[in-house]
């Protein structure tokens, strides 16, 4: 690990002020950043420890929603009574991510901003446009079984590894930010950027901006599920995962949301499939058509063609189960 200067911020204003002086890495739970620094994929000169900022509460919102503090631990959010009762899709997504030890450290903000686990991104000897812009992408044509089939580019085919973000996307959550230029909020589906020819730019966060919380709108009138398929039964990243919310009234679908994980550089909302479902008859034919629609435009690589079929089957099966 390279040397770095360490400062512990006591207030949000102090953290932002330190970031305004020059580039810093914010350190929260450290489960991703410490590993990346040890591998020297990340080489911050200055680390601002934000882990003691008062941003770990989970609070009710006046509209019936819930605010998750950016420093709330993944384990605590999953164990929160309100999350378990009102947002079971989120609780289940969190509990399917990482291990109990990691969930005790990993935070909401860190989970949002975690980096890809693409092995070429981690391997300093490999070409990687995300880690070293302009060097190429060894994943393309390499061992690409875990990589993206949707939203990728000629520059980068890495996937966003989060489970939590897939649930947040289906819930239409909002991410609250603060920074040197003030506060703002962005829908979680607009937080992450597609790689295009700048895969090193992963989010809309500006220099020094800090995630302060995530707002969940009230749970809509719908049933929901989070389903994850991985290479082993636990403690592995998703090959494909799906968060589904659906409501059926007298045989007609009145609400549908589908978000996919493990298939794209960001949590992937299947808007066209949702549109196809909404107002249609809740039958296997509709579900099959929606599943097809969700992966239209998928561009499989050498070893990951199975992901499109897996995504279709997961969507169809989950819709059948929920309706």
């Amino acid at each position: 690990m390279r040397e770095f200067g360490y400062v512990r911020a006591a207030t949000v204003a102090e953290a932002i002020g330190l970031a305004a002086e020059g580039p810093v890495a914010y350190l929260a739970g450290g489960t991703n950043l410490v590993d990346l620094m040890r591998e020297e994929v990340e080489r911050p000169r200055r680390v601002v420890d934000i882990s003691r900022l008062p941003l770990s509460a989970v609070e009710d919102l006046p509209d019936g929603g819930l605010r998750l503090g950016a420093l709330a631990r993944n384990a605590h959010v999953a164990a929160d009574d309100r999350v378990r009762r009102r947002y079971p899709v989120l609780a289940r997504a969190l509990l399917r991510g990482a291990s109990p030890q990691l969930r005790n450290r990993a935070t909401v903000g860190g989970n949002l901003l975690q980096r890809t686990r693409c092995r070429y991104f981690y391997d300093l000897g490999a070409a990687c446009n995300k880690r070293a812009p302009g060097t190429g992408c060894e994943a393309i044509g390499g061992f690409d079984r875990g990589h993206a089939i949707l939203g990728a580019s000629e520059s980068c085919v890495a996937v966003h590894p989060s489970d939590m973000c897939v649930a947040l996307a289906a819930l239409d959550a909002t991410v609250n930010l603060t920074g040197p230029e003030g506060d703002r909020s962005v829908p979680v589906s607009d937080l992450h950027l597609l790689p295009g020819d700048t895969p090193q730019v992963e989010t809309v966060l500006r220099s020094g901006e800090l995630v302060t919380s995530v707002d969940l709108p009230p749970w809509p009138p719908a049933r929901g599920a989070y389903v994850k398929v991985r290479d082993r039964a636990s403690y592995a990243f998703a090959l494909v995962s799906v968060a589904v919310l659906v409501q059926v009234h007298e045989g007609t679908i009145t609400l549908a949301r589908i978000a996919l994980g493990g298939v794209a550089p960001k949590p992937w909302r299947a808007y066209a499939a949702e549109e196809l479902l909404t107002g249609a008859a809740a039958d296997e034919r509709t579900f099959g058509a929606a599943a097809e629609e969700a992966v239209v435009g998928a561009r499989p690589l050498r070893h990951n063609g199975f992901k499109a079929e897996l995504a279709r089957r997961l969507i169809r099966r989950t819709l059948v189960k929920l309706s």
Partner: protein, 170 residues
């Protein structure tokens, strides 16, 4: 020293005042600075669980926690388990049920189990829990899921599950 940070740790009930390079992980601090070598370094990347300790009462991978972040906090390691009621019971059950072979993962397993039993007592669900809001029986499937963060390359998992069940049954 230049760039070093003062850190106060309470480890197994004993206070330590240290000055640490911020790159020092809690794992390296325990082993190299405090001589507590019961905590093992396996993968050093949060994948194996051999380095599991209790930080502020919760199980964590000590290889991923910068020691400077633990300033003022309580750490419990395997060295304290023999004098810890539940920890001692888990150790005994490991002997009875062959919960280990080479032993390298064992200190992490035992620390993890002690914390896991507390999480279960607090009513926390796991990824295999059907009903997120009701009481959860500690079945084999629940134990395996809740212990997924501790790998055992000898494959002593059956013995570990049996040991946990015996301790949980009281």
């Amino acid at each position: 020293m230049d760039g070093h940070i003062p850190v106060h740790l309470n480890v197994n009930g004993q206070a330590h005042a240290l000055s640490l390079d911020p790159r020092t992980t809690l794992l390296d601090c325990l082993r190299e600075r405090l001589g507590l070598t019961g905590t093992k370094k396996g993968c050093d990347q949060g994948a194996c669980g051999a380095c599991t300790v209790l930080l502020g009462g919760e199980r964590v991978n000590s290889c991923l926690v910068p020691a400077v972040q633990c300033d003022g906090m309580e750490v419990v390691t395997i060295e304290a388990m023999a004098g810890h009621g539940l920890g001692a019971k888990v150790q005994e059950a490991f002997l009875t049920h062959d919960g280990f072979q080479c032993g390298y993962c064992t200190s992490g397993q035992i620390c993890s189990i002690v914390a896991m039993l507390g999480e279960h007592r607090d009513g926390r669900p796991s990824a295999v829990t059907e009903d997120l809001t009701g009481p959860v029986a500690l079945t084999d499937a629940e134990i395996r899921e809740r212990m997924a963060g501790n790998l055992c390359r000898c494959g002593a998992y059956n013995g570990i599950v049996a040991a946990v069940k015996e301790v949980a049954a009281g």
